[in-house]
Symmetry: D2
Subunit: 140 residues, 4 copies
């Protein structure tokens, strides 16, 4: 399997703004989640019931305020060659159009682990990817 | 000024849950924000229009899933004696009642900076606290 | 079965507020949903997988602005004797403490239908209640 | 002034979905609000600090479940010739692409009143529109 950086254009909604007209920091996490779903969809992966990705840690740096505008969410799986590991890291950024340039507003690292929902044990990234991928080939 | 660890009991709402019945990670940030508002209120501080706290970085570790239950949000200002600094860190945790014990579900460090909204310059924690405090003594 | 008006005290969170410091109208619907979950819990009813309540229509009157405060959500099933019907109406209100009185801030009527998730057909309130109730008696 | 029906294409986000994979009813109100902001923007109207539109009543019919897809939000001001009235009604719908057709998922009527934020009195639709429009012509 080979993975790419996936970019998604997303509309800010009025409800995302705080009293100063900036996107609230909790809403930024929703944007990042939307980016990861789009990454899964792009790679034709689907979360199944057995092995579930669970967020273990997030680190987010806020560099610029986001206002009522369109943003670009970039999502990339770190070190995708280390498939045997029990965790995976996504690097994500949220970027803004400012005078024909893209400026980074948010940088984030999202650390995931993979839980076997029946046995409650840890599984590897590879095991997660196989399940998420396999089922696409079956009749659904 | 002397600051205390402030504890807030908060109700999880059905809308906070994801499809697995767990509190979504973006919603966890809302809980933490609610805890910081409560910390401000406890210390009789009020955010005014001139010096505005802005989140620069968050780090959150997710240790346990939160379900539809009451949680305790603990909020503490780190190194409150370093008032002359241009940033401040809040340490926060979200804890759960499990068989008469409190278990830590979430641990977070929230790094803030203080922006002068008219001059767009950085201000110190002390300057923020003085403004937030002063105005309480005046007729409002 | 006999049903009662159920009252729930709920905390407004800072994130619920719009730029004017009032609870946003979409958030009011979350409060009402929280009230209905509490009504179900009070009556020891649990939504199961077969018959699912689906909102068909909502009517909400907004009478007072809600600020950062505690609110009371009252939830009542209308005409609970008409169990054979294919729809049910909840009457709900959100009330505020103002100088030792309760003032009505929001009044709402929520119309539900009951869908058989396997057959995609309508079911009656009674059939929903029987399923929601029965399963409580079994070992779960 | 003449007003048009305004259509906005909006992306559903994963966080908008409930445990059954459908857009939650509170989130539907956020979509409608996004549609009204877009309507204002299309007509070059801007909400100012003096006369504030406040939602007095909403009626929403839910006809189809919305899943993770793009939706069209249509927003229209009812009877825009009755400008002297103290209230205004928006008719809104949310529509879905299904096999090259648009299906109505949600129909809503949003009733607004206009409050003078300094005098706390009611104002007319016309007074609101004049303020919202006037200020665009001045240097801001």
């Amino acid at each position: 399997m080979s993975f790419e950086l996936v970019s998604l254009k997303l509309q800010v909604r009025p409800n995302d703004l705080d009293s100063l007209g900036h996107v609230n920091n909790a809403t930024v996490l929703e944007y990042l989640e939307t980016g990861r779903w789009d990454w899964l969809k792009y790679h034709k992966l689907q979360i199944k019931q057995k092995i579930i990705p669970v967020i273990a840690r997030i680190e987010v740096n806020f560099r610029k305020e986001i206002i009522l505008e369109d943003v670009i969410i970039k999502t990339k799986l770190e070190e995708a060659n280390k498939l045997a590991q029990y965790q995976a890291n996504f690097w994500q950024s949220i970027e803004l159009f400012r005078e024909k340039n893209l400026l980074v507003a948010v940088e984030a690292r999202i650390q995931l682990v993979f839980i076997d929902s029946t046995q409650r044990t840890l599984r590897t990234l590879q095991e997660f990817l196989e399940e998420a991928n396999n089922h696409n080939n079956s009749i659904n």
